[in-house]
């Protein structure tokens, strides 16, 4: 009996993709992807570091201290990007009530917090020789610090509440409210024009940087991106096992009855 179009559609491609919304189905898929992302991260990092130190020239103004840019900028980009992705997953979880979405948000938060800390730390170490200070209450630095507190707040909130589903809902509200901070960080250098310099790389105009310096920065950004995928997917697998501990498919994995 020929399947009706509805059934055909149900078994069609769209459905195949939705199958991975179930943690049990996503678990092996994530497992297969992690090694690829990890390998890509290593390749881009090695290439990026080579370009950063052995291809990119000395800066006529800052000498060698500018080489911190090859970590500082990718980390800052990732800190903002990961927050938006985290908030998106949290929003999906809140709206669609899908378990895996909330798990993905919780899986991204620590890595996002890490990149925010790295951006702040490398920024301070770059600021000391060039600005003469580790820290200044500049618009960009302050809003990035707030981003770190938002990440830590999300992590603290979601771990403090015992019931995972309630924890995710509470975390989602915080994440979504915090998203407004990301454009503030991005445009802070323009709006308040305090100490931190403006964007050398932007979507609207050509970058005002030497090509090799740019290449080093992009390679390191790709490395950070691939690393974030690998770390988040690895963490989400652990979260899935923790949450589905008493599910049959998890117990069977352990050879249990």
């Amino acid at each position: 009996m020929k399947a009706t179009t509805l059934e055909a559609h149900a078994d069609g491609r769209g459905n195949a993709l939705l199958r991975f919304a179930a943690p049990q189905a996503f678990f092996p898929l994530a497992g297969k992807m992690i090694p690829w992302f990890a390998a890509l991260a290593v390749v881009f990092a090695v290439g990026g570091l080579y370009v950063s130190f052995f291809v990119a020239p000395t800066d006529f103004q800052q000498g060698e201290s500018y080489r911190v840019i090859f970590i500082h900028v990718p980390a800052a980009w990732m800190s903002m990007f990961l927050y938006v992705v985290m908030a998106a997953w949290a929003a999906f979880g809140l709206i669609l009530n899908t378990r895996l979405s909330g798990m993905m948000a919780s899986a991204i938060a620590p890595t996002g917090a890490l990149f925010t800390f790295i951006a702040l730390w490398t920024g301070a170490l770059w600021g000391k020789p060039t600005w003469g200070t580790w820290w200044v209450w500049d618009a960009r630095l302050t809003s990035e610090l707030i981003l770190l507190f938002l990440y830590l707040g999300f992590i603290a909130l979601t771990t403090a509440i015992d019931d995972p589903r309630r924890a995710e809902r509470a975390g989602a509200v915080l994440a979504i409210v915090g998203v407004i901070n990301v454009p503030i960080i991005y445009f802070s250098v323009k709006w308040w024009n305090t100490l931190h310099q403006g964007a050398s790389v932007s979507l609207t105009k050509a970058p005002s940087m030497a090509a090799t310096m740019l290449a080093g920065m992009f390679l390191m950004a790709l490395a950070a991106w691939m690393y974030s995928f690998a770390a988040a997917l690895w963490r989400v697998r652990s979260i899935i096992l923790e949450r589905e501990r008493d599910a049959l498919w998890v117990r069977e994995r352990g050879g249990g009855a």
Binding site: F53, F54, V55, A56, P57, T58, G63, E64, S65, R67, V68, I71, H72, A75, P110, T111, L114, F117, I118, W121, T122, L125, W126, K128, P129, Y227, A231, W234, R235, R237, S238, I239, L241, E242, R245, V250, R251, R253, G254, G255, G256, A257
Partner: protein, 50 residues
């Protein structure tokens, strides 16, 4: 970009502390996160019953 010698490379034009302080802490952060991920993954595995 030819550094000439390892000493020059480590000195990093006099900015060694700042550059290697940045790269070192970043490497440390990544290592700590990978260690934490591995530990969490081990703990999350269902008990291996014989």
């Amino acid at each position: 970009m030819n550094w000439g010698s390892l000493e020059n490379f480590l000195a990093m034009g006099g900015y060694g502390l700042y550059v290697w302080g940045s790269y070192g802490v970043t490497l440390l952060c990544i290592a700590v996160e990978l260690w934490a991920l591995a530990r969490r993954s081990r703990r999350a595995q269902p008990e291996q019953r014989a």
